[in-house]
Amino acid sequence: MGDSSVARRLVDAIIANLPEPAPGQRPVHTIGVGADGYFMASDVARNYCIAEHFKGQRIRVSVRFSNGQGGPKQHDGWSDVRGMATRFHLQDGAAADLIATTLAEFFARNVEDFFEFTKVARQQPVQRESPWRKILDMLQLKEPARDPYPKQTTSDGAGILNYANRRRFAQLAVFEAGVIGAPVSYARATYHAIHTFMVEDPHGVRRPVRFSWQPVAGVRTTDPAATPVDKYLRHELEERLRRWPARFMLMMTIGEAGDALDDPTKPWPARRVRVVMGTLTLTNLAKDQVADGERISFNPWRLVRGIEPSGDPILHARRCAYEVSREMRDGCPFRWS
């Protein structure tokens, strides 16, 4: 089950570094919106995984989209990681969760790395870099520091950069997070469940896999040069779903011997076999946003027969950390399948 004291320290470390705490709310991915829909597995999904939601029947789903930043302030237009947590409602009240973000890799290999990250990546006062400093950077063919957003007073950007500069394993995630931008819609981003899971097929063959959601509407971000808008993603999704459902394809990449199974900082090569596992159709925003947008609690360990966690230490740490966080904000109790 994991060490709950470590989980508590993990959650506390995250809360301690928030620009503004949000008691009773999620410490990260605080701002979010719930949506309803259904999932239909593809014809081939059952050949790869025996889990109930891949058998082909229509499965009701609840999805929570979120901005990665912690705290009560909403900044939809800021460059930030976005979350997409999906619950597959199965028979007899059972369920399976799939938690994904727009960042394809993580910046820590294990809990120790994560604690180091929280020590280095502290919120610090931020101000616009002097134009002369920028000119000096340009003369060195160096990326000048990004201007702070309007009314942004603190940032963990400098600390994160410092962390990555001394840890090559973290550089990919930090670089990608730095250029990730803001989606024009929650339905126009690709979301990756960064960890490896083991899936079992009908013949008992187990395969290491990684899942990702790919938007049928395509990927698009806002203009980074434009002044960011703080609140638009929820309204945009509501309007979008009022007109037409939003769809995502669930893609499953199959790893090979030699791929990083237990290290979420390492991507798998693009040459791995990708299987279409099904299509998610979102039909409307959840009517009860308190229950289905806020109190709903996801956990990457909420799995069913046919899908198992890998040995990824971050995945193992998330099990208890999510529970601790849920208890702290009085989220809906967790039911194991």
Binding site: K134, Q140, L141, Q171, R272
Partner: protein, 238 residues
């Protein structure tokens, strides 16, 4: 961007897009930093790997400058391919590891782009055996080609010649370019005292050293399957 942004901030933020700065960068900054922090060309072709998926649908991207840089020279290259159409198909069907191959004329270069399964040297070796005459007809028109033809008599030299003209494949992830540069310099450390903000300079200098590159390892609709598997599944034999 922000309300406190003054005219000088706006001017400096827009500076990289100005013609003056771009010329300064091309004529002064890039040569200067190339001299101060030299970057060596990275080798072409797929990254070595023992993993099965990495040895399927590999890319070869050859750009070969024609000796005769004129419409006549380009026409000769086009004719060399047209005259050998049957030989190319015969080679493809006999080798059985090629997904597709294309000959393209860009400027005064003849380019060969192909996607193949398996080891690079075996791929070229197989083609020398089956369509060596086509290679000879094309390479004869290319700068430096006379040293390695007939390819049937210069197998190892020919493979090396082709490898040297195969484009560097920029990794799919930006920071893996840094890892390639470090590996070329013998730096295998897990951690260093790096500066990620220097990534633009490193990319620019690498593209100075490798002027022609393939961007990424290719985008595939059905990765992880060989040409033989695809044909078998389609029931069209091989």
């Amino acid at each position: 961007m922000s309300g406190e942004e003054g005219w000088f901030d706006r001017f400096v933020n827009g500076l990289p897009e100005t013609r003056v700065f771009q010329r300064l960068a091309s004529w002064v900054l890039v040569p200067y930093w190339s001299w101060r922090t030299p970057v060596r060309p990275l080798p072409g072709g797929p990254h070595p790997s023992i993993q099965p998926g990495d040895n399927l649908q590999c890319m070869m991207n050859l750009i070969m400058p024609l000796k005769e840089k004129s419409p006549v020279g380009r026409a000769k290259a086009a004719l060399a391919i047209a005259q050998n159409k049957d030989a190319i198909y015969a080679g493809l069907d006999n080798v059985g590891t090629v997904h597709f191959a294309r000959f393209v004329i860009v400027g005064d270069n003849i380019c060969m782009f192909s996607v193949y399964d398996g080891d690079f040297t075996n791929y070229i070796r197989d083609f020398i055996a089956t369509i060596g005459s086509v290679f000879n007809a094309v390479v004869e028109l290319v700068e430096g080609g006379e040293a390695v033809i007939p390819c049937e008599h210069n197998v190892e030299a020919f493979i090396q010649w082709v490898h040297e003209r195969d484009l560097y494949q920029v990794p799919d992830t930006a920071t893996d370019l840094l890892r390639d540069q470090e590996a070329l310099n013998g730096d295998k450390a897990a951690s260093g005292n790096d500066d990620l903000r220097l990534l633009p300079r490193k990319v620019v200098l690498q593209l100075r050293a490798n002027a022609n590159v393939s961007l990424g390892s290719g985008y595939r609709a059905y990765p992880g399957f060989s040409a033989a598997q695809v044909r078998n599944q389609l029931g069209i034999g091989w």
